[in-house]
């Protein structure tokens, strides 16, 4: 399977380790021919988010030829995956575009649903209790876990994968899937509210005795870690692939 690895801009610049761990993790699977899509830039999420559909269109048009050749496009980011799957609609919906939208996966979904990973033979260890933060896009738009609002059977794909890591004990904040307030451009336009939401979230972890927080959306963690440090809370934040690939230690 020819896999295109897409690195979202914020991960490239601010937390490259998330991409490094994900890239190396994908490379572990011999059946995959993994290529970093180096020329692909932003997924246009900030523009769609702000309502600039026309401008998002230019970006999307540029991306199509870069993404279309792959059997699967894998991203280390739930929110950008949702952008492709749910909102890549400023361009004409050609067969190529439809192919892209249907074959874009967040890495957690890709491991869980496409590769159907049941164990991690490289035996990663993370002997600690971790709070799992399912980012809102991963949770409610990609349905990688049951949002607490929906009365459907429980499932949590990220927790399933973390369960394969030796010593890793998964828990949740009390308000387990309340938004932490990142919201992309929201955290800049409405910093007071985003900050309060973030503070409530990191205080929730601290109250529950967590020292480690893991998520499949590093965008949320970027926000949460910034708020935690500003408020002097002793919490460490990890992108999920860092733990799955055995790159992070508590």
């Amino acid at each position: 399977m020819k896999v295109g690895f897409f690195v979202p801009c914020y991960i490239d610049a601010l937390h490259p380790q998330a991409a490094i761990s994900s890239y190396q993790l994908l490379k572990r699977f011999p059946e995959l021919d993994v290529e970093f899509i180096e020329r692909a830039a932003c997924c246009a999420l900030p523009l769609t988010d702000m309502g600039y559909h026309k401008k998002a269109c230019t970006l999307e048009r540029n991306l199509v030829p870069l993404l279309a050749p792959y059997d699967a496009i894998v991203l280390p980011s739930g929110v950008c995956t949702d952008q492709f799957r749910g909102h890549f609609d400023s361009v004409e919906q050609t067969d190529e575009v439809k192919h892209i939208r249907e074959h874009t996966y967040d890495i957690v979904e890709f491991l869980h649903d496409v590769l159907k990973v049941k164990s991690l033979p490289w035996h990663p260890k993370f002997p600690a209790r971790v709070a799992l933060h399912n980012g809102c896009h991963s949770l409610r738009y990609l349905m990688m876990a049951r949002p607490t609002e929906l009365m459907i059977p429980h499932f949590d794909k990220a927790a399933d994968l973390l369960g394969m890591v030796e010593g890793c004990e998964v828990g949740y904040a009390t308000r387990r899937d309340e938004c932490c307030g990142f919201g992309g451009t929201f955290a800049i336009w409405d910093a007071p509210c985003a900050g309060q939401q973030g503070l409530d979230k990191v205080s929730d972890y601290a109250r529950n005795g967590f020292k480690h927080v893991v998520s499949q959306d590093f965008s949320c963690l970027m926000h949460q870690s910034g708020v935690a440090r500003k408020n002097g809370l002793d919490l460490k934040f990890y992108y999920i692939a860092e733990i799955l690939n055995g790159d992070a230690q508590p």
Binding site: C9, H15, G51, A194
Partner: protein, 475 residues
Amino acid sequence: MSQVNQVKNGARFIKDIPHRESHDRCLWNARMRRDQTAQAIPEWEEMRDLASQIKEHTLSHLDHYLEEFEKNATANGIHIHWAETPEEHNEIIYQLLKQHNVTTATTGKSMTMDECDLRGYVEKRGMYIHEADLGECIQQLDNQMPDHIVVPAIHKLRQDVATLFAKKLGSDPDITDPHYLNGVMRAYMRKKYEKIEAGLCGVNFAIAETGGICVCSNEGDVDISQVVPPLLIASMGIEKVIPTLQGVALYVRLLSRSALGLDITQYTTHIHHPQPGQEMHIVILDNGRSKRLGSPDYWQVLKCIRCGACMNTCPVFRRTSGLSYEAVYMGPIGCVLMPSYDLHRYARLPYSCTHCGSCGDVCPVKVPIPELIFYWRGVDVDKHQSEKVHDAEETAAELMLRSSKTLAMGENMALWGLRNLPQWLLDSGLNPWADVHANPEPPKETFREYYRRNYKKIEFMNKTTDLHGFLSLNL
């Protein structure tokens, strides 16, 4: 009117810790109770689908069902009036009150009347309508808009209510027990009920098949207003009609559970005729609804049954208060409804949203609120309703994000800034992020740099076919 700045309004409420914490806690608890009660019903998600489908069916045959309702209600002895605008709605009701020489009128909570500012309209003409719902009455006495469509005074602490009642109703300012305050209200309203000449109410469901209305309430004020006075006036939007009486069961099972986590409201009342000797009127309001119905991107908003579940779950609403929206409909549904009433005034509301999607998941009739938020942001941009600064910023962003090369340049500039600029500058007002965040630790290299250092050459050696691609990215 000037554009509402929900962010600024909300920031003030966020700083008021006791009020904000109480608001957040009360409404989050309502959301938790909703989860608990919904969890006990195996068909919950199926019911949401059905409730949504019935609404879609009704809206796509709205002319038919409104005619059927009108015919049956008229046969039941109810007078039906039609209003295109709030002014028409208010004038119809004002004239009715005047013809009946009404001096004392009470009203149970009605969103449609709030939407039209009926109270304000009749007050200007020397008439006073008493809000009979406790929360609405508190807000009326305080001369303030409701904070929430179901619990209008939930942003107030008990001390606030005690102070207000002491000033307006002469109660003891030092007794803040909600039971006492409720008693003060009860005594105050009882005096009104003894001489009430007209009662007003809203409508939760208008039943086409039987020509009756269903109203769900807790306090008894609505029912008293309906059956005691010789004149009853109900007000409803055109979207309130549903086809059958049996259908009410489905909505009643969803409504209060979604709103407050209660299995039902204390009073689930159906009025099909006026009481003997009573005159009954229903005013059916359009106020833009028929136009919304014609918008393929937007008509689904008309499914809303005004339960307030989206407000309870909204992380922004709970922390910033409903008052910060300066609107009749607040929270998520307000963000997507209000711009259709006044695009300029409410252009910024669709941005008061983190896109967490929770509102869509709790909505008992599946109004696609998150999608409608995107819709309005697009409309806002197309019509240039919002601040011009967006344009400059987003053009810059678009230029930067357009290709991997310009993006790398932008990223490098940002990283250079993080690594080299003095802390005071990074924390200044130029960087709103820094108000609430410590800035991130800049990494030593980006992923692209890492990739080039470690993998690029090897992969290139293995794949000489993509020569063109390799050349173009080094341009």
